[in-house]
């Protein structure tokens, strides 16, 4: 724990898209970190040069917040996540220091090619109520306000924003490599908001009070450089873009299938059930696979987003995890989403875990410890913010603070959080990170969910019943 004591400089480094270029840059400027590579399985890193500099690898989305709350003095992440934070909290503690001049693509406002919206002015003239889907809800809201939209709804999603327009959203705010890249997804780029480049950011108070000069000096040659502008020549008007415009007639029943880890087992299950689907089991996965049943429309989205999308009627049915259903129902207790049945795969436990060094054996003891003033407020890192909130309230732990994460909550303990609430299959990862399971909240597996209004609809209920029976048969096939 020495690395994180006072006097140490704490650096938040990105996972994912910026990991390799950031590692190269840091090595080049003499600020390398041991083990900072795509293959690493550790989160905590040591500077190869400065004994007082420690780093942690975090999800990029988490970095602006973690720097702002003073868990880190410095951080590197994409300008999209920085703007997403700053547009909501302009006077907060996050300070942009400089662009590091690497990165790719831009944040665009797009519409679906079949939706008939070719400009934002046209949209404002045509729509009295605009639905915007995005991984960047704050930027989307700022856009809606700046355009003085009379009425708008923002749907924050974990990903796959590109698949929502035009049926399930009028606009999406998303990242695109280029306008041509966006057009290739059947979308019309209406406006570019800004380019995505890696940025060096700092905590305001650290910058004002702490000597970060040895680190900033390393970046010196980069800090004075002008941000590079994209040299790609792009067609200016939409007419010059080749936008595939496949016909997607409205279907009677809409089903959402998961991407990511859940995709392969779901594809296997559907095959067992004898449901013919093209474009889902083979690579690359189509975001709009087609079914043998001509009345069935399918989209592939994130399982995290499904309960809300089923609740608001964009989909009648979805294959998601019970964990995400419960997360949704904790937030919206009267939601019209119903679980039909579990599908028997993707089983995980949702657990509360703490550092092995935490002197408690169960959640009651933790409650007493927090009440005595130690670990107060208790900081809980979780992907399941609403599940975690309910669990903590029910166990009467006070005071507490929730830290929403986008996965890999184990990286937060013990420096940046005291407890995590996350899913685990075997518990091995938790053990590797010297964490101990304190409580199992519930067990979760993949399940079929439905909108209760669709279940009651005379136009839909027979087809939903047919589909549900087919999937139930798949369940039997798997068991046999």
């Amino acid at each position: 724990m020495k690395d994180y004591q006072d006097g140490c400089i704490k650096f938040a480094l990105p996972k994912g898209r910026f990991l390799s270029p950031t590692a190269s840059l840091l090595a080049e400027i003499g600020l390398g970190f041991e083990g900072y590579s795509a293959k690493t399985k550790q989160y905590r890193l040591r500077s190869t040069r400065f004994s007082n500099v420690a780093a942690k690898i975090l999800q990029e989305k988490d970095i602006p917040i973690q720097v702002a709350v003073d868990n880190y003095d410095l951080g590197i992440c994409g300008s999209d996540w920085i703007e997403e934070y700053l547009v909501k909290y302009p006077s907060g503690a996050l300070v942009r220091i400089a662009s590091l001049n690497y990165g790719e693509g831009d944040i665009h406002v797009v519409a679906g090619a079949q939706g008939g919206i070719t400009s934002l002015n046209k949209l404002l003239a045509q729509r009295s109520d605009c639905r915007i889907v995005s991984e960047y809800p704050n930027l989307s809201e700022a856009l809606a306000l700046n355009l003085r939209m009379r009425r708008f709804k923002i749907f924050p999603v974990w990903g796959a924003a590109e698949v929502y327009p035009p049926e399930n959203a009028d606009l999406a705010v998303l990242w695109g490599r280029s306008r041509a890249h966006i057009a290739a997804q059947g979308l019309i780029p209406l406006e570019k908001l800004f380019s995505v480049t890696a940025f060096l950011v700092a905590n305001r108070e650290s910058l004002e009070n702490k000597d970060l000069s040895q680190i900033l000096t390393c970046f010196d040659s980069r800090l004075t450089a002008e941000p590079q502008t994209s040299t790609e020549h792009e067609p200016v008007i939409c007419k010059e873009l080749k936008i595939p415009c496949p016909s997607c007639p409205a279907k009677e029943i809409n089903l959402a299938l998961p991407d990511g880890h859940q995709q392969a087992p779901t594809a296997g299950f559907l095959k067992q059930a004898g449901l013919g689907i093209q474009g889902y089991s083979e690579e690359p996965v189509s975001r709009r696979p087609s079914a043998d049943l001509d009345w069935l429309g399918i989209k592939v989205i994130r399982p995290q987003d499904m309960p809300l999308q089923v609740a608001n009627g964009n989909f009648d049915l979805a294959v998601t995890g019970q964990d995400w259903l419960r997360e949704h129902l904790c937030r919206f207790p009267s939601s019209p989403v119903r679980k039909l049945f579990a599908l028997g795969f993707g089983t995980v436990k949702i657990v509360a875990a703490v550092s092995q060094e935490m002197p408690v054996n169960d959640i009651c003891e933790l409650g007493s410890l927090v009440q005595s003033g130690k670990f107060a407020p208790l900081k809980i890192a979780s992907e399941y913010v609403n599940v975690a909130d309910k669990y903590i309230r029910e166990n009467r732990i006070n005071p507490y603070k929730l830290i929403p994460t986008w996965g890999a909550s184990e990286a937060f303990l013990p420096e940046d959080a005291d407890m995590l609430i996350d899913n685990t299959q075997t518990g091995k990862t938790l053990e590797q990170h010297k964490l101990r399971i304190l409580d199992v909240l519930f067990q979760s597996s993949a399940c079929l969910i439905a909108n209760k209004n669709s279940l009651a609809s005379s136009n839909k209920k027979d087809r939903i019943k047919f589909l549900a029976q087919k999937l139930r048969a798949g369940l039997t096939n798997v068991k046999n």
Binding site: Y89, P90, S91, G92, R131, E141, A142, A144, L145, N146, R148, M149, R150, R151, F152, K153, I154, F155, L308, A311, N312, H328, R331, F332, P333, S334, S335, P336
Partner: protein, 406 residues
């Protein structure tokens, strides 16, 4: 976040009482709207600036899966306009008033995010007279609150908007400069004038000078005969109101550039200042009700800023003279407690405020103390704190006889 302590509440209630009394005297009726409203109520008219809307507290309700968001009321007028539209009383004309809190995020943490307003709105009616009425009503409240040296400043949103049109800017730039002006930054306007000598003359006259009577506006009208019809019509409207104010002996200052935050105003707007602080503001907003699909109803109104006014009012002097009665139980025995409550209730019924105490409540601020005990020969002893005398009493009737005579 801000607590209102007992002393603050005395001032708060004083403002509220004076405001309510004035409004009722002028024929206004009190209404109250919900703290939670739908966000689209405030975005639908397109009148509030993006800057203002970005500071509202909005969130998804418990049934917010459809994406519809609710907001902690950031403005007092728009909800009252909605109330007027949603609850037609059969008459176009309505005089409504309210005392309400409004919420806006404030990034520095130095100001409160919850502020209180006393507001009045006049829906319907013909022009000029309602404008003068709401100004006079606001001044009446300020006068009755005994706020000295309050200053009335006038501007005209229609005139400012017509002035902007004269520049023939592109829509984007016009919106940018308008939003700037609404936030109080007039420099955007002065920056674009330099290219046009006539416009510079007009802007200099309007923004640089401060009129003290309707004559100033007559002079502006005479100096710029070539101004646009919109500008002239707004000027005429402004002139008719100021002429009426002159005839009523109302003192004011015309300061076009002093105004900001007049998002939905279309005609005259005004603000009241005291000790350098803005204590209220209002104006005419003829487009708001039509934009909310409530029909072609003109309207005007104002709000007084309770927090600012509270800072100006002197602390209510604590009554140094002894008053009130303390009923003190010597012990917590059921019989004593019972007697204390019975005695106190009888005193209150007779119109004497009475406080019960079983601990060591300081007696210094009370005129009388009644000692209640189960052990004494007489269970009641009346202590005169002024004369510093004790006497045994037999009944509440005897106490009332003494206290009433004291």
């Amino acid at each position: 976040m801000q607590d209102l302590l007992p002393e603050d509440m005395l001032r708060f209630r004083r403002i509220e009482d004076v405001f309510r009394s004035c409004c009722r005297n002028w024929g206004y009726q009190e209404v109250r709207t919900p703290t939670l409203e739908y966000l689209y109520l405030f975005t639908a008219t397109g009148t509030l600036t993006p800057g203002m809307l970005s500071r509202v507290y909005s969130f998804l309700d418990w049934d917010g899966w459809s994406g519809e968001r609710v907001v902690l009321r950031p403005d007092g007028t728009i909800p009252v306009a909605r109330l007027y539209i949603d609850n037609p009383g059969g008459q176009e004309l309505a005089r409504l008033f309210y005392v309400t809190n409004i919420f806006a995020f404030e990034g520095t943490g130095k100001k409160s995010r919850e502020r209180w307003q006393c507001g009045a709105e006049f829906f319907g009616g013909v022009k000029s007279a309602p404008d003068v009425e709401v100004i006079q009503l606001a001044e009446d409240v300020v006068h009755k609150l005994d706020i000295r040296n309050a200053k009335l400043q006038l501007s005209h949103a229609g005139l400012v908007k017509a002035l902007l049109k004269e520049f023939r800017l592109g829509p984007a730039e016009e919106t940018r400069i308008t939003d700037g002006i609404l936030e109080g930054h007039w420099d955007g306007l002065t920056a674009v004038t330099s290219s046009n000598a006539e416009m510079e003359r007009l802007v200099t006259a309007l923004l640089g000078l401060k009129g003290k009577s309707s004559s100033f506006l007559r002079n502006v009208k005479a100096s710029f005969p070539k101004a646009s019809p919109d500008f002239k019509s707004s000027l005429e409207d402004f002139l008719s109101i100021t002429t009426l104010l002159d005839s009523l002996g109302c003192r004011y200052e015309i300061d076009i550039a002093a105004m900001h935050g007049f998002e939905y105003y279309t005609g005259i707007c005004f603000q009241l200042l005291a000790a350098g602080e803005k204590i209220g503001g209002g104006g005419r907003y003829d487009k708001l009700v039509p934009l909310m699909n409530g029909g072609d109803i003109p309207a005007c109104g104002f709000a007084l800023y309770v927090d600012a006014i509270m800072r100006l009012l002197p602390l209510e002097k604590r009554r140094k003279d002894k008053s009130g009665i303390l009923v003190r139980g010597k012990e917590l025995a059921p019989e004593t407690v019972n007697t204390c409550f019975t005695v106190a209730e009888s005193l209150r019924d007779a119109g004497c405020p009475a406080e019960i105490d079983f601990a060591d409540r300081d007696e210094s601020s009370f005129r009388w103390v009644i000692l209640v005990s189960s052990k004494r020969p007489s269970r009641l002893v009346l202590k005169d704190c002024l004369q510093e005398q004790h006497r045994e009493v037999a009944s509440v009737a005897e106490i009332l006889e003494v206290v009433g005579g004291g």
